[in-house]
Homo-oligomer: 417 residues x 2
């Protein structure tokens, strides 16, 4: 993490970029009628080229029907050319009917786009427990299949939002022409949604990434898992796990450039570019977190291993007392200490150092009192940094979170019919 | 749990009862100056008789100095005759100086009361990270040692509060004269504090129980652990673990009645009376939870084992989205399902049933829609019951919690200097 910086000379953000900046990716949205308002609620990501696709999914045992269906699809074929996404209803906890509906959407989408059933994946976000209005969705898919070639990435990025305030989209160009003397540039584009699992409708993380490279599925799987672990799996707003989370990456090979470990330099650049995109998308979720007033970065250093570092980071991130004190702009380091101490990680309390916004606040089992007064004004910053040094090893991990605000309680308590 | 009801004919609450209703227990409070306000901040629990004492402590690795000292004391002797409790400063994260201060308090208390050092225990509650004002506390102990015989349990119950709104105290009489034809009655009395680890000063759970029975320490240890597991270890307001929690039980033998398993009936009555007292004290903490507007009981039934049932109950209790939706008086059962699904417990989602206020809301992997409308008005109740039936076994467990309110955020965000 943060090592991306040294690779940043190789790539640049495309201004006002989105997923359709990736060649031969077409994305469109429409209002099908799942949502009562006239907002778009159905979108389609489509490439006519063959792809190598990877995905990661929520581990929640109440996984939604699209999660179940997609796992089955990807175990059969990685050539996903179309992803249908509906907003408004999550198709989670919907029993056998939910599965039947999801299968029907796959089948009809394949029909309209003249694809095999194996080439289609689906995603849903919205209220848990309601059945999808199948006819409305199928009508929407028919419409999308006709207009897809004149697609609009920005419109689709907006259509997949539930209570998110801002669209989450991004495109990055790897300057492969210049740095690697290749014919085309590599583009990585993404759209996503989520203010984590918050009301009204169990907003979840969905993220769809497209690239124009060729890559072997094993290499891609490894990269996606590593990248998601350092991005979407390192954020928490409310500590609640969604039933619908998924992150997709589709590679349609349009550039003709193959990513392999044989070309190590290109591989490293691609890897760090992809991690940059995942990290940016994850941060966009945090910055849009329900009711959030601050972006909080928790860094756990010198830990025995990465998993321990992350466990401590997540415990701090999910402590509602730590979050509330950050909202209150006070330095309640005791709450951070007690969060660390409540994990099952072994350490000596006299070794632990806690920094807040670069002020050393806790050392040798005690407060560093002379730093309290100068540190206090920095709690008014929008970006708060908590750094914990464990002195048990050499590994480190980051977690990003938000504060706990009145607006969070207001929003998350009053939704749902 | 709840089996206490069948034993309730044997015991009765003493009206306006407190810990000093137990014969030969003297308890007094005083203002020593730890707190800036003129509130009492130091109290002493004392019995001139020999005791058998058990205690349980927080497992937080940043355990406060009194926790460390008391563990040492109890491993040496179970004859604790005096417990000194200060409010205002937790003596947690105070390094070597904190231990030295705690030892000095033990030593001086023993001196003033003409006890051995081994007969004294201590407790602190308040702000983490500050050193105790030792001279003020020693002055207070001197004063307490002079006035202890005219003690006032109610005053002491108030003195140990931090941000709690209400004192937590109770005395129960087992009618051993009537039911067991004995000379004296058994009295179980308690004082306690806590709105869990919430601001301003890391309020913690402290609970001190006194009885006038004789009992072997092994039997007592077992009873206390079992009882605490079903009471204080089954509540959560904010999911944050304190550095200072402790529950003490002292038995001074005044009644001459010995509790053994040989007299099974008396043993069972004593056991259930003690569990009743622990449960009542734990519920008093929940009812006084920071900003709480509702008492929430989560019952997990038909689980593989008690630990799994409790893990699921705690996950629901600590879901800030579940808590917020209860505050909002909505039925967001999807949040309950996703909390259950995010544990590592194995189950089939089609087996799980979720009841809210006795309405079956989720069954066969789907919402029971016809119950949603009639159930909704019951969300306005002060007491909310969530019942989850897992159908994986025969064990069950209870957890008690609160909702998440605007007042919680207000209180927990703005405290501390």
């Amino acid at each position: 993490m943060h090592k991306e910086k040294e690779y940043e000379k190789y790539f640049s953000k495309i201004e006002n970029g989105t997923i359709t900046d990736v060649p031969e990716f077409f994305v469109q949205a429409v209002h099908s009628g799942v949502r009562k308002s006239r907002k778009d609620d159905l979108s389609l990501i489509y490439t006519p080229l063959d792809t190598v696709t990877s995905a990661v999914f929520t581990t929640n045992k109440f996984a939604a029907a699209p999660v179940i269906i997609n796992k089955r699809q990807l175990s059969g074929s990685r050539n996903i050319k179309a992803i249908v996404i509906n907003t408004g209803i999550a198709n989670a906890c919907t029993g056998e009917q939910g599965i039947i509906n999801a299968e029907k959407i796959v089948e009809e989408t394949a029909g309209y786009l003249k694809l095999g059933k194996k080439n289609v994946a689906i995603a849903s976000t919205g209220l848990i427990g309601k059945q999808l209005p199948l006819e409305k969705i199928l009508g929407g898919i028919r419409e999308l299949s006709k207009t897809i070639s004149s697609g609009d990435g920005h419109r689709a990025a907006r259509s997949i939002l539930t209570i998110d305030k801002n669209p989450k989209e991004l495109a990055v160009k790897i300057n492969t022409e210049k740095f690697f003397n290749m014919e085309k540039d590599i583009i990585v584009g993404a759209i996503g949604k989520g203010s984590i699992m918050v009301a009204p409708n169990m907003g979840t993380i969905l993220c769809f990434i497209a690239t124009n490279v060729k890559i072997h599925q094993n290499l891609l799987d490894g990269l996606l898992h590593e990248g998601v672990d350092q991005s979407f799996n390192s954020i928490s707003i409310d500590g609640c796990q969604s039933t619908n989370d998924m992150v997709f990456i589709q590679n349609n090979g349009e550039s003709g450039i193959e990513i392999t470990k044989d070309n190590r330099e290109l591989y490293d650049v691609f890897r760090h570019t992809l991690f940059f995109v995942l990290e940016e998308m994850a941060k966009k979720v945090i910055l849009d977190g329900e009711g959030a007033s601050k972006f909080v970065e928790i860094e756990v250093r010198s830990s025995r291993d990465k998993a321990e570092a992350k466990k401590i980071g997540m415990k701090i991130a999910n402590s509602i007392l730590v979050k509330a004190s950050i909202f209150g702009e006070t330095i309640n380091w005791g709450r951070i200490a007690s969060a660390i101490g409540s994990t099952d990680v072994e350490f000596n309390i006299n070794d632990v150092e806690i920094f807040i916004n670069d002020f050393l606040i806790f050392k040798n089992g005690m407060e560093v009192s002379e730093n309290m007064e100068p540190a206090l004004p920095t709690m008014k910053n929008k970006h708060i940094n908590i750094k914990v040094i464990m002195h048990t090893g050499r590994q480190s991990s980051f977690v990003w979170t938000t504060d706990l605000t009145h607006d969070f309680v207001k929003a998350s308590s009053h939704y749902r019919s």
